[in-house]
Symmetry: C2
Subunit: 362 residues, 2 copies
């Protein structure tokens, strides 16, 4: 088998010259062990709403023979109602990765570089490369916060995650507004994948700023990473341009089951709030315990903690935890190669994590 | 409301200058009437396999909190087994639209125009425009067949649907091979969305031609349009390039439920064959009846018939059927604006269609 693969890789085909070659993005590890504690991809430790289960049980498989609604109306309308906006202000896609990639393709089309932090979601530069969008990564300050002045230069657009990942640091609405005010001629994307865990969404700024696009996801706070739902909210014209590009690419991206289950999730506000409260409570407990163990970290308003330890190398801690079947995220990248990103699990999972860390560090 | 929309459309925002503007593709009509007969988007009139229903009933909603397998292994491995190829030769996506769009982006990257017929799947030129790929549409012959000599000129790649849509005409493997032989330096995509309804797949040519990419879908013959599954089969290196681009775009396009239900469908060969046989039988019956009514059409090996009538304008027949709650597809496009594309429904649906056509024409 190995030999066969090598032959394929070595062989040069004549059609290869004119194809698009990209540095392949390697997705985060999705280990498949039994009884592992999985704290490496910021998934929610609790299941989706019982209304999602009900929608799944009631879905009629015979409906699958028909194409889904290309406008994803039930879901966009439910989201619009939830956020108090028009349905025409909502765009849905196959995870926020799909939504963000479409937004990059649609809005970042000038000769000037788009701007985003050097330490941030690792897909931004991948999309910029893929769509050949010039870009400039702006270094975070030493304490991993963002200096809004750095974003007041000539640019072709801006992407800011708030809270930022993997740092978990939240910026204020005043900060977001400062950047919007200084950049009225380009589209500013605020990636709010983690906003539900304690941040304030930029939604109220939509009335004032027609160049603002807010992107959120069902993968974290709604416990539906496996279902692939992301969405963008913005000015109706901004959203219409996004729809034009999406319809030029694939009219039917959201399948019928996803539309039904996604809608059910949005309807269950009580369960949503309850789940968030549990995750936040566990996060605060985990912060205390990690602090006691000597870990250093900025305050996180997300569902993970980005921490380093003054006495032990992050890579070593990562390897130790792995040997104990506990998976956290380690990035072998400049500036952050001594940090671990630890997703918030259940209380039981975090207790085991703390126990193992105590064993290793003490 | 109308007024609000007009204001939005009229208003020119300063960020609009540098965004990507595309002519929005308008998806085919998806009417939502009660008791309609829907013969306009080539959906299967029968439900998906009972194994799909079983997989749906057994899916544990709690698993949705986790990201899906980015490699979509259960589905790619099942497809590989089914077709007798390696798993590394299979690429899956959100419908064949997703697969084809990724293939256009990956493989059509030279300065020479890609080639496809003037009458064909209406998305090819949309993708070419979107990705700024130069293209040349080659007119079909008068009888709607393809002249392989037309594809023996300098080009940056070729896309051929077989059977072609909306004509339904099938070309032979010798024809496909003639085009492959003459175009070893570019990627040739054969879009086999309708191949299961009586055509011979180009799969056996894969061993000989490393530049061949075959694309198929679950939307027609597998009755799963609502689930969004398409796939490509080709040389391992070809497929690896496609994966590189896909992973640069969105690592998790195939959700967990889709992977499970798609796999279940492939496992039920008996049901698949039975459904196909029913559709083919109804198609042949429908051909007879349409001929008796004076319709003219080339032989179709797909799940639709592309027909015109010497005495009545297609647009009028279309409007009449619509008034009777029967939806067929009418394209207001040069060369085909006197044709109707009629999907094959159940026996009962086709009997009602024939009855209404008789009423209108006789």
């Amino acid at each position: 088998m190995k030999k066969r693969e090598e032959q394929i890789v070595d062989k040069k085909f004549s059609w290869e010259e004119n194809i698009r070659k990209v540095v392949p993005y390697v997705p985060g590890e999705q280990p498949k062990c039994q009884n592992m504690i999985k704290l490496n991809t910021n998934e929610c430790p609790y299941p989706p709403s019982p209304l999602v289960e009900k929608a799944l049980r009631e879905f009629d498989h015979r409906d699958l023979r028909l194409y889904p609604d290309p406008n994803a109306s039930i879901l966009t309308e439910e989201l619009a109602k939830y956020y108090g906006v028009e349905a025409e202000q909502v765009f849905v896609g196959v995870g926020s990765d799909d939504v963000l990639a479409m937004a990059f393709m649609t809005f970042f089309n000038s000769g000037s570089p788009i701007l985003f932090p050097d330490i941030t979601y690792s897909f931004y530069d991948v999309w910029a490369e893929l769509y050949r969008i010039p870009y400039k990564m702006i270094p975070l300050k030493e304490d991993f916060t963002i200096d809004p002045k750095d974003y007041q230069v000539e640019n072709g657009g801006i992407v800011l995650p708030n809270p930022n990942a993997p740092t978990g640091i939240l910026e204020s609405l005043a900060f977001i507004e400062e950047i919007l005010t200084a950049n009225r001629d380009v589209v500013v994307i605020v990636d709010e994948a983690y906003i539900d865990f304690g941040g304030e969404s930029a939604l109220p700024l939509l009335k004032k700023y027609d160049n603002l696009l807010i992107v959120q996801t069902f993968s974290k706070s709604r416990a539906m990473a496996g279902m692939r739902i992301g969405y963008a909210i913005g000015n109706e014209k901004l959203i219409s341009y996004l729809h034009h590009v999406k319809f030029s690419f694939n009219s039917y991206t959201m399948d019928s089951i996803t539309l039904s289950l996604g809608t059910a999730s949005v309807k269950d506000e009580a369960y949503f709030r309850e789940t968030l409260a549990k995750v936040i409570k566990t996060r605060e407990w985990s912060k205390e315990k990690l602090k006691e163990l000597g870990f250093i970290f900025e305050d996180s308003k997300s569902n993970f903690i980005f921490a380093s330890h003054p006495e032990k190398k992050a890579e070593e801690i990562y390897a130790y935890l792995r040997s104990k079947n506990i998976f956290v995220r380690y990035f072998k990248k400049p500036r952050i190669d001594n940090y671990l990103r630890i997703s918030i699990g259940t209380d039981e999972e975090m207790e085991i994590l703390v126990k193992e860390l105590t064993e290793f560090l003490m």
